[in-house]
Each structure stands twice: as C-alpha cells, then as structure tokens.
Symmetry: C2
C-alpha cells in the first residue's frame, strides 16, 4: 500500500485488522504523530499508558514493546523503530493546552480536536480520548526533580516506526499541532497500513 499523508496540524482515523502493520513515517524530520487505539469489537477498550508503562517498568518504549489496553490486552506491538524515543506521558495538545501553556487567545483545536473529529464517525466521544502514544515526541525527564521538558524530536527525514495490530483496531493518528513538540514548525506525517495477507514472511517478525 502506498503512503498516505496527514497534512500539518490535522488528523485521521482508520481501521486495522489483527496482523496488519501500521508504518508511521516522519517525512521531513522533527515532527510528532499522536496515536490512539480502540478495539473494534468494543470501543470502551482503549490504549492505556498507565497499564503499558507499569508492565514495561520503563517510560521509553521501542522495538519489541507491547502497547496494552485498559483491559490489559495487547493492542499493538512495536516491531521496528528507527528513532528510539517517543512519549507516552502527555495528553494530546488541545485548545486547553494552547490556552493554558501557550496563552493563546484564539487557540487551534490541536491533536485532541483533530482526533475528536476523526474518531466521531466511529462513535468515539472526545471524553474517551486518552493519553496518546506520541510517536517521535521527545520529552526529557529529570528523575530527581520530576521536571519534564519538551525537546525537538530525534527523528530525521524519512525515519519511521512500525506497529503490528494484535487485535482488530480503530486507530486515530495526527500530525501534531503544538509548536514546541515539533521544533517550531508544523509538518506532515505519512503512514501506511499493510494488510496481514500481503506481508512477506520477513515482515511478520
């Protein structure tokens, strides 16, 4: 399947079936993509940062790490990662983010609003949008003070992360809308979904 583009400061939603591979590409470098996931069979089952980080005993996830749902089922597994640094702590940027953190008087709807729009046709309400797995987002943490700071992503042009769906999923995915998260400019994100039946054996790894 050829790559699809998410234009700057926007988002999409789509379905994947178990075994399909999602590739998220940063075509220009230093651009974040927020990813959320819901079970097709019951949208109340949703990706969970709290369960995933607890079971991993690690804040930074990469190749081999499973992403769990709020029911402790594995939704996605990271099977390839060019970058090695992503975030699973912070909420999608939103009108509130831009109001509270940036002081904007006419804030953009952010990844949260973009996800809400994209997920609405699947019956998913804004309140049900959790902490996203923020591909390529670089959040520095001071283990002593707990201070967190958003740094430029480590992703370079063309680098990617790939996930295998471990159940039938509804995915929300954005090209992030926050200046600070994307080193000061808004860029597109590309992605593709490779159906399980089109995979050559080596891609199953």
């Amino acid at each position: 399947m050829s790559n699809l583009e998410i234009r700057p400061r926007s988002g999409v939603a789509f379905t994947m079936n178990r075994g399909d591979i999602l590739t998220v590409i940063d075509p220009l470098g230093e651009q974040v993509a927020d990813l959320v996931a819901y079970a097709q069979t019951d949208i109340r089952e949703v990706i969970s940062s709290g369960r995933t980080l607890d079971y991993a005993s690690r804040l930074f996830l990469t190749t081999g790490d499973p992403l769990y749902s709020n029911r402790s089922n594995v939704m996605l597994t990271i099977i390839h990662d060019d970058v090695g640094r992503h975030d699973f702590l912070l909420t999608p940027c939103s009108e509130d983010t831009f109001r509270i953190i940036y002081g904007d008087t006419h804030p953009h709807q952010g990844c949260f609003g973009n996800l809400a729009d994209a997920l609405r046709p699947f019956g998913i309400e804004p309140d049900a949008i959790p902490v996203a797995f923020n591909c390529f987002m670089h959040v520095a943490i001071d283990g002593k003070t707990g201070e967190i700071s958003v740094q430029p992503p480590l992703s370079r042009a063309g680098e990617e992360i790939r996930f295998r769906a471990e159940m039938d999923l509804i995915i929300g995915l954005t090209a992030c809308s926050a200046l600070q998260s994307n080193n000061g400019s808004f860029k597109p994100i590309c992605y593709s979904v490779t159906p399980a039946e089109e995979l050559v054996p080596s891609q199953h790894a």
Copy 2:
C-alpha cells in the same frame, strides 16, 4: 468529621461537594492510597494524569498543584502535603498486574477491582477507571534510561495529604493491594471529608 478507615486491600467511594476538604492519612506509614475522581454532573469527566502532568510540566506533584480532568477543569487542589512524593504515572494494581508482574495464579482483584466495586453504585464502569493519583506511592525514575522502579513510600505513621474539591465530585479511594508498592505489607488508610461550611477560615488556604 472523625476519620474513617479503609481496611487493608480494600476501597471506598463517596461524594464531595465543591469546597470540601479531603484528608488522606497513612496511619501506620509506607502505605499507598489510589485516588480517582469523577464529576458528579457527568461521570464522563474524570481525573486525567496526562493533562495534569502536561500543564504542571512536572511528574511529582505537591502542595499548590491542581489535578485536572480530561476536560481540563481543575477537580482537586493539593492544599497540604506532609510527604512530598506521590505517583501519577501508573495504573491501579489489578488482577492483571498480579498476573503479569508478580506471576500470581490466583490474583487478588487489587485496587482496580476494589475501585470498580466501590464505583459501580455511581454508574461508573471498570473501563472508565483511569490512571489514579497514587497518594504516597514512591516511583523512582531514571531520566536517562526511562526505567521506573517502585520504592517504599516516604510516608511515616500519621502523615497526610489534603485536597480541596474544586467541583462536586465522586471520589474512589483505596488502601493499595500491591506488596511492592507498600514495602511488603498491607495496611489501612484513613480519611475524612470536612464540609466547606465547617471549615475555619485558615483551612480555606
């Protein structure tokens, strides 16, 4: 109001109105209490670790810090803190925690099951239980590797944390059920809710 006791490995739920003060006490020391909150007017509005940590730009919260909902409204403010170290990253312990992390074959239902039981009469479903604000939980973080490790709580016998309700709330609160989080033993938690109208002026601070 006199103190109420949550017996070891159990949980409760109750309502608070705006302005009321919740005091959570660790009577014996080194015991964690998981706290979740929902808006009385709409239980889809729920405490959010992702929004709170994002707006605080800090993982460790203490006196003066607001706890936000998934709609970016302040639900609670920490107004007093004897201990200074709590966790807002990890999911309430559950059957899955004990199965996945401890390898238990007949796992306890954990804080998650205790919260689910206590919150059910309020119409709150298990799927709607988020990352809790884990009072007294001591999670050490390596900022370089992202490794997280659960350490003995820093709370000593009788120490407490107090919260002011900033809206009308349903609260879930536990005496945590995970051995590792409580330095190897299960102890009670005490709490009290002081109605706003009974506060003397200095308690409003």
